[in-house]
Symmetry: C2
Subunit: 340 residues, 2 copies
């Protein structure tokens, strides 16, 4: 299986992307990686791989792409610009069928627009939705979508988000009957905007769906729902607030132990547990986000993803390839005929 990786555009530069892809290869030796970016820079990073990852170098090839899509570029500008960037190179490679999935930590809006043009959509979807799996209580996960810049979303799009998220949870994670909730300001049927009210009506007509009705924000983490649907403005705000809160709480945990522990001995003994905790307390950062509805597999890695973050994004891409997510969506939603 070959995964194309846009190695540029993440906050930590190509080192995190190259090391993360290498780490994913070490965990899954069937993976081949194509790295897109300035060849000299990427070759340098490969030669500097830490010793435990060196063996992965033989499964990684570099494709020279001199340009980089900047974070502050507008999608329309990127669409019009020269297609010599690492992002457009990665997507063109997917479009030619030379890789089965792509990963990028770059500009989300540009990635959505370029991917849509390069790969097209399935099942009558108009634009990609973005979804990520958020860890919940009881070792569960909840897909939250949309997280993209799709603001002011009409009811039909919210319904489509629900259907796509449900297919992903069922086909990729093997959940038998994913429970779907529509995010609202109250669980009572009378609350919320017109589009949320209308989307609720549409979803109640989807008799094959395990639709729970309205849920509130805390349901995302409760473990009681598998797919939570909202517009891209709300989803983006919720996801970023959760990241900020998790970061703050990590500091509080550390400060609590540093400030209050009655003896240094106990603080020292607690160190391994605290180290593990730090890794667990940032639950939203380490999962790639799927661009759903594309006729292809593209994973958006978090902008600030480190080696572990890229590793997970590449592994997520491989998982969606194994289950052929676009074919699942096309088959299940295209056949319905009512989406789009």
């Amino acid at each position: 299986m070959r995964i194309a990786v846009d190695a540029m555009g993440g906050d930590l530069g190509p080192r995190a992307a190259v090391a993360g892809a290498a780490s994913a290869v070490m965990a899954d030796p069937d993976l081949d990686i194509l790295l897109f970016g300035p060849a000299g820079q990427l070759d340098d990073e490969i030669s500097r791989l830490p010793r435990p990852l060196v063996a992965a170098a033989s499964s990684m090839d570099v494709i020279d792409a001199p340009g980089v899509v900047r974070q502050d570029q507008r999608p329309a500008q990127v669409l019009r610009g020269e297609q010599t960037t690492s992002m457009s190179g990665m997507l063109a490679c997917l479009a030619r069928g030379e890789a089965q999935a792509g990963v990028s930590a770059g500009n989300t809006g540009a990635l959505m627009a370029l991917a849509r043009r390069a790969l097209g959509m399935v099942a009558g979807m108009s634009r990609p939705a973005i979804s990520t799996a958020i860890p919940t209580r009881r070792e569960g996960r909840c897909y939250l979508l949309d997280l993209g810049a799709n603001v002011e979303v009409e009811a039909q799009r919210l319904r489509d988000f629900a259907l796509m998220g449900e297919v992903m949870a069922r086909r990729i994670d093997g959940q038998e009957r994913p429970r779907v909730g529509l995010l609202n300001v109250g669980v009572e049927g009378t609350k919320g905007t017109f589009s949320v009210q209308h989307a609720d009506e549409l979803l109640r007509q989807e008799t094959a769906l395990e639709y729970l009705g309205f849920v509130e924000g805390d349901a995302i983490f409760s473990g009681d729902v598998d797919v939570v649907v909202c517009d891209g403005f709300v989803g983006n705000a919720v996801l970023k607030a959760s990241e900020g809160l998790a970061r703050m709480l990590v500091r509080r945990v550390q400060a609590t132990f540093e400030a209050h522990w009655s003896s240094r001995l106990v603080g020292w003994l607690a160190r391994p547990a605290l180290a593990r905790l730090r890794g667990e307390l940032d639950p939203v950062r380490y999962n790639g986000a799927s661009l759903l509805g594309l006729d292809g597999i593209v994973i958006k890695s978090h902008g600030s993803a480190d080696t572990a973050g890229f590793h997970y994004a590449v592994a997520r891409a491989a998982r969606e390839v194994t289950h052929d997510l676009p074919a699942c969506l096309a088959q299940e939603l295209g056949r319905r005929g009512s989406v789009g």
Copy 2:
């Protein structure tokens, strides 16, 4: 100073309200409390106050109000109904000037509607906004508003939220120049809905305001902004998601120590620190929320507030009385003439 407390309507029943009010009196002996609810039930709760709070009973009076506003009642229904509830009794007492502030953990929509009718608005505001102080890094706090059910908010209302939140941070918390941010899906000027774009233009014209422009969700907890403004749908979703995440993380912290600690001795030694941590890890639950823009002071306590939660809500009410928040809003925003 006299605070009127609607003792009914919280998830934990009148016991938490009565004990919380008593706890606030113990901390501030200048407080008098009027408790509204079924007299027999409230007298019972007063007689059952735990020993450290018994002395507060002499500062607490019960006003019989047999009815209770249920959580599932619509505001319009409550407005039309008989005004014999603990909530309407508390508000009528405020309107008559027999108490300087009111506290309720009941139905938020009903509280907003009844309070608006009973007390009226200041400075041309059309409806109350709801705001709460969220703990941030570096021991700071950030006011988030609106948290109410004001969905689909136009730009002028977002501007009003910003102005009211700024007055609260400056006059109540004594911040010299509160920094105000407008929540959006990106900090770039080109993103977001029409109303967010338009509100940004309006806020740029408020030259007296320390307006930072667009901020993303993680800014709420970063300590870099003192007031974050959004519509009530987004604010409600963000607040409730934060509550859910905090609860999940509390469980993870506990599980980490229970599962991994190499010795029971260390786990036992860590117990006091973990207990402190549990209290700190639920930062959004223990602050009362202010109903801003009313010609009166009403604090909404969290529906699931326990004794400590009610204590903080009563203390918050007292603080707003001391600084006469409605007069500050009327003076600063009324004089401007451009609000409403």
